[in-house]
Symmetry: C2
Subunit: 240 residues, 2 copies
């Protein structure tokens, strides 16, 4: 844990417990830096995290203030992470998987393009239903290059592909590009997510890549429209 993260957590806790009055600026950066015995740059960085979370905002020449809208939120995430894909969020829940399809074949033009591979490089074609506490949570359609993610089998699919990639293959996931849209539910969604024919789904299209820069997953996740939503915070640049 770095110094700025520790300080950030302390300030987050203070906001959550109303240690600072919500209608006044919190102490200025120099005072806080003195209190926490750090440089002003480090203090600023700690506050930056909270600004990015939407808990604080700054007014040049005035001070740093608490976002009132954020106080209504349940409890303010103790560790304050909004965007931590699936498994992380589910850390202490019972996550299981059901395999709907598991094939290997040559990729379509589209899949090859998104994975930056040649059409002659085979890909896994996987459809899994993931359940949280026995409840259907998300239906995932996944393409992964066989050359990159070697040795996928049913046993791996019943657990977490991400655990396999990091713990067994010792590869590291660097990030992902996502597109989020609404879609009509298809026959598979209705069958496995248990949704009605008239129910839509929230579709997340994702290209994930390793810390080698190589894309290793192109996937479409379908979530029940009544059980999943995506949260984000938008910050207006101070200069505008």
């Amino acid at each position: 844990m770095t110094k700025y993260e520790l300080i950030s957590e302390e300030i987050r806790k203070r906001i959550g417990t109303a240690y600072y009055p919500e209608d006044q600026p919190i102490p200025d950066e120099n005072s806080l830096a003195a209190e926490f015995q750090c440089s002003r740059m480090t203090m600023k960085r700690a506050l930056d995290l909270l600004v990015a979370e939407g808990l604080l905002f700054r007014k040049r020449g005035h001070g740093t203030f608490i976002v009132k809208a954020a106080l209504n939120k349940r409890a303010i995430n103790v560790s304050g992470h909004e965007n931590r894909g699936f498994t992380k969020v589910m850390a202490d829940k019972n996550v299981t998987s059901q395999i709907i399809r598991f094939d290997v074949h040559f990729p379509s033009e589209e899949v090859a393009a998104h994975l930056s591979i040649d059409s002659s490089a085979p890909v896994y074609d996987i459809v899994r239903l993931r359940l949280v506490e026995e409840e259907p949570y998300v239906l995932e359609k996944t393409f992964m290059p066989v050359n990159v993610i070697k040795g996928i089998d049913e046993k791996v699919l019943l657990g977490s592909i991400y655990s396999y990639i990091s713990n067994t293959l010792h590869l590291k996931v660097a990030g992902a590009h996502k597109k989020i849209r609404a879609a009509k539910s298809d026959q598979l969604d209705q069958q496995y997510l248990g949704c009605d024919q008239a129910d839509p789904v929230l579709e997340v299209e994702q290209v994930a890549y390793l810390n080698t820069g190589r894309p290793f997953e192109y996937s479409f996740s379908h979530h029940r429209y009544d059980k999943f939503e995506f949260s984000t915070v938008e910050i207006t640049k101070t200069g505008l």
Copy 2:
């Protein structure tokens, strides 16, 4: 324009024009700092922007690399902004509005809570269809406290509420919290967005707040499922 933004743009341009080979690290931070005549901190900050955009990623002990998946993207946004709400993105397009409903009344419990106001404080209740180049683009249901955003009338609603808030009221928007989900289209959606009864919509629930910390807008935006998607980049923390 700050130094780190200028440097960031230059590097973004270089990536877009394949100035750097994509299978090798870009020059290290000290070399780049020397080339751009800045400190290493400033150089790092310039690169941070590109990492946040998903164009670059870093490997401690190795170097900074180009994300191959990002190169496929059309042209790499010249100024690289993903999350700039409506009006900004539409800068050079013809945006018009059609007023579906315009009322003032007392807020429901839910609306009052999201706007952090008392149930006795009246709110505008607005439904607008927004069109881009004459095409229906989004149907917005908006609640705003009358005490905060004074003087809204039909003329304002036909243009941009945001312009009115900044240019006439001289208030500043600091940010917004958003939730994105899929929903069934209702009768209004079908009528105004021209979607079929079976078509879903992408719903964005938003609480926007001023640089006074005061929430001023609680809204639900419905987008046609086939014409709108939300893009985002997820970065895995290097420590994990």
